[in-house]
Symmetry: C2
Subunit: 124 residues, 2 copies
DNA sequence: CAGTTGCACAACCCTACGGTTGATAACCGC
DNA sequence: GCGGTTATCAACCGTAGGGTTGTGCAACTG
């Protein structure tokens, strides 16, 4: 298993069934058999998926006799959003600056193309 | 390749090298050889990674003679943040409600444990 | 034109992943 | 104690993923 928290988080959510488990656990804690019921996969498979989510820090397991109710942990979510937002902002900032540069350029350097007509022939 | 956009996005960012590519592309467009330079992997490997990012909609490719500069696309980022934020909020809301329930309960149903002392013996 | 650069495609190797079945442990309820 | 439930462990299987090398192609450069 990878030691990098972000790698664990992103690869944990890369599986549709695991994302579905997270979505259902957001509504409330649930046991393995409860979680496995809607799918046509074995209980062991769901147990494995839960382990992946647990290793990513997205889920913690309780204990109620034989049952091991799964509980969604919301604290790790910001780790992902922080990463994503960081580079989204950076990319958008770069885009904004490019806009400024283009706007400040004289029209003969960056000619403004007509709405639908083909580009004009170069001046001889 | 999976048709689900979220699966493509999350599994694209599940690889540390691909996350690093995204981070570097956030600073500015770059060619494949430029991107491959810092790592000790082949150029073809980086080309493959770029295609994964492209299929996820995170990267678009331009054309400058032989070069194919890669450009980071920021529009798809909200797809992930929306998913993450949705269930983070839901989990936190559930947590807040649980707090309310506990706070409204009489103390003999949910006894308030002392700070450090062991729990008191049951009343005879 | 000949040579070099920049990149993609194809075939292959190995490992990790998602799935299965079977066995096993722990805890009820009767 | 005995069956029944709940869940994990272990071994196995097929495929997708990340890596390599080799080849080929398009476009610049001398």
């Amino acid at each position: 298993m990878p030691t990098d928290p972000l790698t664990r988080l992103f690869s944990a959510l890369a599986d549709p069934l695991r994302r579905d488990l997270v979505a259902r656990l957001a509504a409330g804690d649930a046991t393995v058999t409860e979680l496995a019921a809607p799918y046509d996969v074995s209980v062991q498979a769901v147990s494995k998926h839960l382990r992946v989510l647990e290793n990513a820090g997205l889920v913690s397991r309780g204990r109620d006799a034989q049952r091991r109710p799964a509980h969604l942990e919301a604290e790790v979510f910001p780790l992902m959003t922080a990463w994503i937002e960081r580079y989204r902002r950076q990319a958008e900032e770069r885009y904004r600056r490019l806009d400024d540069v283009l706007a400040s350029m004289p029209d003969d350097v960056v000619p403004i193309p007509p709405e639908t007509a083909p580009p004009a022939a170069p001046v001889p």
